[in-house]
């Protein structure tokens, strides 16, 4: 943990500082290009001109070290699950995960007989936001991302969490 993290009592200055920090985090969530299946196409479509993820500050990064948000877009198979876990581990903190689409959320259409499909990516990594849809419309994805931003904005990195 960072040396100053959660070391401060809550007061006005720290709180406003905190606000700025979480504002920065929430405003520039660079996402990790992690397309797995059909949802990835929709993710690309969202990043493309019509919906433009850059609008909300999301820039694709292909190295996990520089990414903040991992959008798990697509079906997670058993073969892939271990890799996903590894890649998630390799991301620098703070890191967030979005499960995009039915497959990533719970195995989706492939859950009944999918012997090789992981029934939900949350079995291997913690997920922050679940976006339903198969594939989710770009609007849904953006909405999910905004939800995530809300969540990030509520975080207080410096303040001791009041119990």
């Amino acid at each position: 943990m960072g040396l100053l993290e959660e070391k401060f009592e809550d007061n006005i200055i720290v709180a406003s500082f905190d606000k700025i920090l979480s504002w920065a985090r929430s405003t520039s969530p660079w996402f990790f290009q992690f397309g797995l299946a059909c949802c990835a196409i929709e993710m690309m479509a969202t990043a493309a001109s019509r919906y433009d993820l850059m609008r909300i500050g999301m820039i694709p990064r292909s190295s996990p070290r520089q990414a903040d948000v991992m959008i798990v877009a697509g079906t997670v198979t058993m073969k892939m699950a271990l890799r996903i876990k590894k890649l998630y581990e390799q991301m620098a903190e703070p890191k967030y995960v979005i499960a995009m689409g039915s497959c990533a959320t719970s195995g989706g259409p492939y859950s009944p007989h999918g012997y090789h499909v992981l029934k939900g990516v949350d079995i291997v990594i913690p997920v922050d936001v679940y976006i339903p849809g198969c594939p989710p419309r770009p609007e849904s994805l953006i909405e999910g991302l905004i939800q995530l931003q809300d969540k990030i904005r509520k975080e207080r990195p410096l303040t001791k969490k009041s119990v």
Binding site: I20, L21, W23, A24, R25, S26, T27, S28, W30, A48, S49, R50, D52, M54, R55, I56, G57, I59, R61, S62, S63, R65, Q66, D68, Q90, A92, E93, P94, I146, Q149, D150, R153, P157
Partner: protein, 359 residues
């Protein structure tokens, strides 16, 4: 010149000349750093917006619930920078820790100290050295070492590829760039940046400003040779094979996160500024206004210089968002088989031209 002026002025105030000197340099250097930082923010913003506009989209926008990046996303780069500051700093276990830490320092300093020799206007130059241009060429080689160190110490295959590619690329393109600068020196007879700019006063061919680019056809060619080499030295598309995202993930910087990555990023943008700055000084008349005698005051000098640099940086971005990238051997071919002969041709051409024209 500014430093000198400042030193003299401070020396009157303070008794110790050393202290005055250090103070004066600090007074210059801190703004220089701030300038780089602000410039980088602006350039990143510009890059995001320009790329977006070229791609028929809007780029960062700061509206709506949860999307407050300022109006038109003006604060986007600020948020990015702050966020990078807040990112965890990862040093891979298998990396060579010492060199891994050292690399951003080398790369950043290599870019940072070049700024000392850029003339922003008639007076605003931190160190107007006798060997100004040569100095910039020389210290740019520091960046190469930094990149090799970064790539090698990461112990990551992509990084290694990126480092090898970029070092080979930068050193190769240094030759045509330097040869094109030689063309400028041949005409101006000085290596000092201010000297070069002062030489470009007045008119040539009756209507054109007496910028070196317009002085004869070979200098015109030399400008392009220099600029293309410069683009390549900054590792920008179409010469961005070291960071080729579709091949090498993130190239040299694959393992870098947080602030260390930010410094590489910063140096990349700083390098763009330096290359454009040298091109502006060497070929486009530096702080001279495009219409001689019009708006030539020092304040306007700053404007003209930044304007020219900005335009060149815009062209670099324009390149980036238009072209595919070259393959590494084609890149080398262009350097050795196109640009180098052209640069040599320019030297001969300008030499003969000046000898015959007598100036």
């Amino acid at each position: 010149m500014t430093v000198d002026v400042l030193i003299d002025w401070l020396a009157n105030l303070v008794d110790f000349p050393e202290l005055a000197f250090i103070l004066a340099v600090l007074i210059c250097a801190i703004p220089a750093f701030l300038f780089i930082a602000v410039y980088a923010l602006v350039a990143i913003y510009g890059e995001l917006k320009i790329s977006s506009f070229m791609q028929d989209k809007v780029g960062p926008m700061g509206q709506g619930p949860g999307l407050h990046a300022g109006k038109w996303g003006l604060l986007q780069p600020v948020a990015d920078a702050l966020k990078l500051l807040l990112k965890e700093d990862i040093i891979p276990a298998s990396a060579d820790t010492k060199l891994f830490i050292l690399a951003p320092f080398i790369v950043f300093i290599g870019a940072f100290i070049s700024f000392a020799a850029l003339p922003f206007n008639q007076n605003l130059i931190i160190a107007d050295m006798n060997i100004g241009v040569f100095y910039i060429l020389a210290v740019s080689s520091l960046g190469v070492i930094g990149l090799i160190v970064a790539g090698w110490s990461s112990n990551n295959k992509w990084s290694l590829y990126g480092a090898m590619r970029s070092s080979a690329q930068i050193v190769s393109y240094e030759i045509p760039a330097a040869l094109s600068i030689v063309v400028v020196i041949m005409l101006t007879g000085t290596l000092s940046m201010q000297g070069i700019i002062q030489h470009q006063d007045g008119l040539v061919w009756g209507i054109l400003p007496n910028w070196i680019i317009f002085q004869n056809p070979f200098t015109f060619l030399a400008f392009f040779v220099f600029f293309i080499s410069g683009v390549s030295e900054c590792n920008r598309t179409p010469f961005d094979i070291p960071e080729a995202e579709s091949e090498l993930v993130a190239g040299t910087f694959t393992e870098y996160s947080g602030m260390r990555y930010a410094f590489f990023f910063l140096s990349e943008y700083a390098n763009m500024f330096i290359v454009s700055g040298v091109a502006a000084v060497g070929f486009l008349g530096g702080w001279h206004s495009p219409i001689p005698g019009f708006l030539e005051a020092p304040g306007w000098g700053l404007f003209w210089f930044l304007f020219k640099v900005g335009m060149l940086i815009f062209v670099m971005m324009w390149f980036r968002w238009t072209f595919p990238r070259l393959r590494v051997d084609q890149l080398m071919n262009i350097c050795w088989k196109v640009l180098l002969p052209m640069a040599l041709l320019n030297i001969f051409g300008v030499g003969i031209w000046t000898v015959l024209a007598g100036r």
